[in-house]
Symmetry: C2
Subunit: 460 residues, 2 copies
């Protein structure tokens, strides 16, 4: 799939909008954002900036609209959208072992590419501009190519397991060498130990070293290769680790990972549902980043992460959708609302996780979690222009007392109208500019039919 | 506000759709629905019905679309949409006493009308065709007029408190006499004791009798006047009742209400969060209907209703959004997804409340809860034509394995394209036919400004 129209970079002036900067500047009313090439160069009042940057700028009128940083989804398995709704409402092991794994085994590089293409399209349409995805990196077609074709910013990880160490290493080297921070800087790479119960202690130590090597070769202080891992998704994980590797965990999983010298600020841990006080202490001490995935954790009945406690300890907590198998969308607006609601309800405290806090988790905290906050997560001069514009002239957004409240409790992903990533308009008034969505849907349909055929003949 | 265009009834043939009947007929593919005046007269395969009803029917092509009964929202306070996002993330008492009540006191009949107009518009746009609303009935402009103007089906209640018995009685008589089951049968009426802690025991007995009287005068077996009440929304309710009325509750609130002979199949109880085994037993025995409002209960940190247990005892559990003050939308798709997720998560069981069960709660169970299932809640011959059509050609609904899964876990209210209520097309391809949405939004804006002025001068 090639981009329909390779939209060139240009100078853009977004004007008359309500700008939610997600920086110290707060909200700028009747505000403007000036973009040159891939960067935000200025923000302020429209009347000032229009005078200063009058000519040579394509104007986007954001009257009655809200302009904010694109949302950052810190935990995905983009290729799995091909299995959206393939199996639901089942016990976890039956779901995984009898339904998801057998069909995943049949996925070719093309299926992975098409699945990631669908997730990329859905993400942009819903106002998400950066996605952190963990899947099997494949030669030829893969998730990195899909994101790049659609113009979505992302971190592409290769998921590592104890049983395929040799292959993992080759794939990680190729992934980093080919994709990490090349050309437009849209794609970065991560090293992804699947989980503490599928990666043995020695391999953890090795994967840390492999990541460091790759960083020396392809990374930099500004654009590091990070580590992305599932930790403590379910309450039986300690047992599973002990059974798998004949180790004895004294005081939780994070202490164990810390003893392997795996943990530091470059590690993002998804889920963190079944964690102890000691775990939280270590997460804080090592500045490990957390990706909270409330929709997936509820749907799979895993449990509820103690997010208010993590936040109170100043841990960087970001938000993720997880894959479309356990969500079943890539909708970060939904995740924001559910995160805001859930912790109030289970803690019987309506003041925890305010709308303002939730918006940070979906933007600037997401950027910090991916060690990318020098470039994204807020609307500030010198940052990359990842900007979304929402139409607030809708019945469910009337009347208006607070933009922050509406964005978390009332807005929908379908209110997003225009999306810029890296200074390029990738969606304008609801229409993608980089790929033909109808063609993507046809590819998805064919890939699904093919996959079902494969799984059927495999099961025969 | 008058209807822009008083769309006349006509004969309609919806064809080529995937019909989710919500009846024993299940799903009909390549299906058709035949509508004459306000009623569904036939359903079946398109090829059969097109031959049979070829001429004189306006055709709606639902190729690639899903056709289902309109959603039924069994707990709302429609007028309160005017306060959407006015106050959030606050402790319950501060929220109510310092924010919501002072501004509600300033609401005139016009504010109530405009708020209900906004809720009616938002409901239809999001695929909800029946709304059960409890508010202060007012002379002149009111919620009943708003629903009627927009063409939304609903039950309009007047909320009753111990401190205004005389006024309540007059208003209930007027409401029932003017609005219950008149002309097109779109509007029904209910008697709404606010709650067991704001209505004294004698008044409960009286309100039951008043409802019976009104039923004799204006109701019928087919179109009864029901009772709508908040019960056990929070865990301190038993205490509040005891403190307010010097009564002693032995074994829960429902036993107390039962001792007042208030409970029967014509009572719908919203929330039922803080209920005991004994409560559940009485709910079941008296066939009391439950409206589950998960979004509101989480946002206000009230707690979580034991819905899987209620369902396992064959209690009729339906779904509600509650008002836009505690939600902050009228979006039943959101409520469906959150209900499906929440109970899996808190019960650590991914099999509870399947997609199929949730869809029933939002349609046929909602109809049963309102004692309206003879006419609405499923697509069946002889029922009223309350039908919604969803566009499934969207990235977040691809690929497709199961319509039921997508409707609960992936679809959004913004996927609803066309809505019929009582056989009339009230929304066509996303555009309302009964009112001018822009005019409604202008009215909302003005009403809000006026309300803010009033509350300011009141507080001076």
């Amino acid at each position: 799939m090639r981009r329909e129209k390779d939209v060139g970079t240009m100078n853009i002036l977004i004007k008359n909008g309500t700008i939610l900067t997600m920086s110290e500047k707060g909200i700028i009313r009747q505000g403007a954002v000036v973009i040159e090439d891939d960067k935000i160069v200025d923000i302020g009042k429209t009347e000032d900036l229009e005078r200063k940057y009058g000519r040579g700028y394509e104007k986007i009128d954001a009257s009655g609209k809200v302009v904010m940083p694109g949302l950052i989804n810190t935990h995905q398995h983009a290729a799995m959208s091909l299995l959206r709704g393939y199996a639901d409402d089942l016990p976890l092991q039956e779901w995984l072992e009898n339904r998801i794994w057998p069909i995943e085994k049949c996925m070719t590089p093309h299926h992975i590419y098409v699945g990631a293409l669908l997730t990329a399209v859905e993400s942009i349409i819903g106002g998400t501009t950066t996605v952190n995805t963990m899947y099997h990196y494949t030669r030829g077609e893969n998730e990195a190519k899909a994101f790049s074709d659609v113009g979505l910013r992302g971190i592409i990880g290769h998921v590592c397991f104890s049983w395929r160490k040799r292959e993992d290493k080759l794939l990680l080297e190729e992934l980093a060498g080919k994709w990490h921070n090349k050309r437009d800087g849209l794609i970065r790479v991560s090293v992804d130990p699947h989980s503490p119960y599928t990666v043995d202690p020695e391999y953890f130590i090795e994967l840390k070293e492999i990541g460091r090597d790759l960083n020396r070769k392809y990374g930099s202080q500004e654009a590091p290769i990070i580590w992305h891992i599932h930790v403590a998704e379910t309450f039986d994980e300690v047992e599973k680790i002990q059974a798998a590797f004949k180790v004895r965990l004294k005081d939780g999983i994070f202490e164990y990972l810390d003893s392997l010298k795996f943990l530091d600020e470059y590690v993002i841990a998804a889920h963190c549902v079944a964690i102890t006080e000691k775990d939280i202490e270590i997460i804080r001490k090592r500045d490990v980043k957390v990706s909270h995935n409330p929709v997936s954790n509820l749907k799979l009945a895993s449990g509820i992460s103690p997010v208010p406690k993590l936040v109170s300890k100043d841990v960087t907590v970001s938000l993720g959708t997880d894959s479309s198998c356990s969500n079943n969308t890539a909708d970060m607006f939904e995740v924001m609302k559910i995160a805001a609601l859930l912790h109030k309800g289970v803690n019987r405290n309506p003041t925890v996780l305010s709308a303002g806090q939730i918006l940070k988790m979906a933007t600037i905290k997401g950027a910090k979690a991916l060690m990318w906050d020098e470039e994204i997560g807020s609307i500030e001069p010198n940052k990359k222009a990842d900007v979304i514009i929402l139409n607030f002239r809708k019945p469910h957004l009337f009347p208006l007392y607070s933009e922050e409240s509406h964005l978390v409790y009332a807005a929908k992903s379908s209110d997003v109208e225009t999306v810029l990533i890296n200074g390029k308009i990738v969606m304008e008034n609801g229409k993608l500019t980089t790929v033909d969505v109808d063609k993507v849907l046809e590819m998805v349909e064919k890939a699904k039919e093919d996959l079902i055929e494969r799984v059927k003949s495999n099961l025969k």
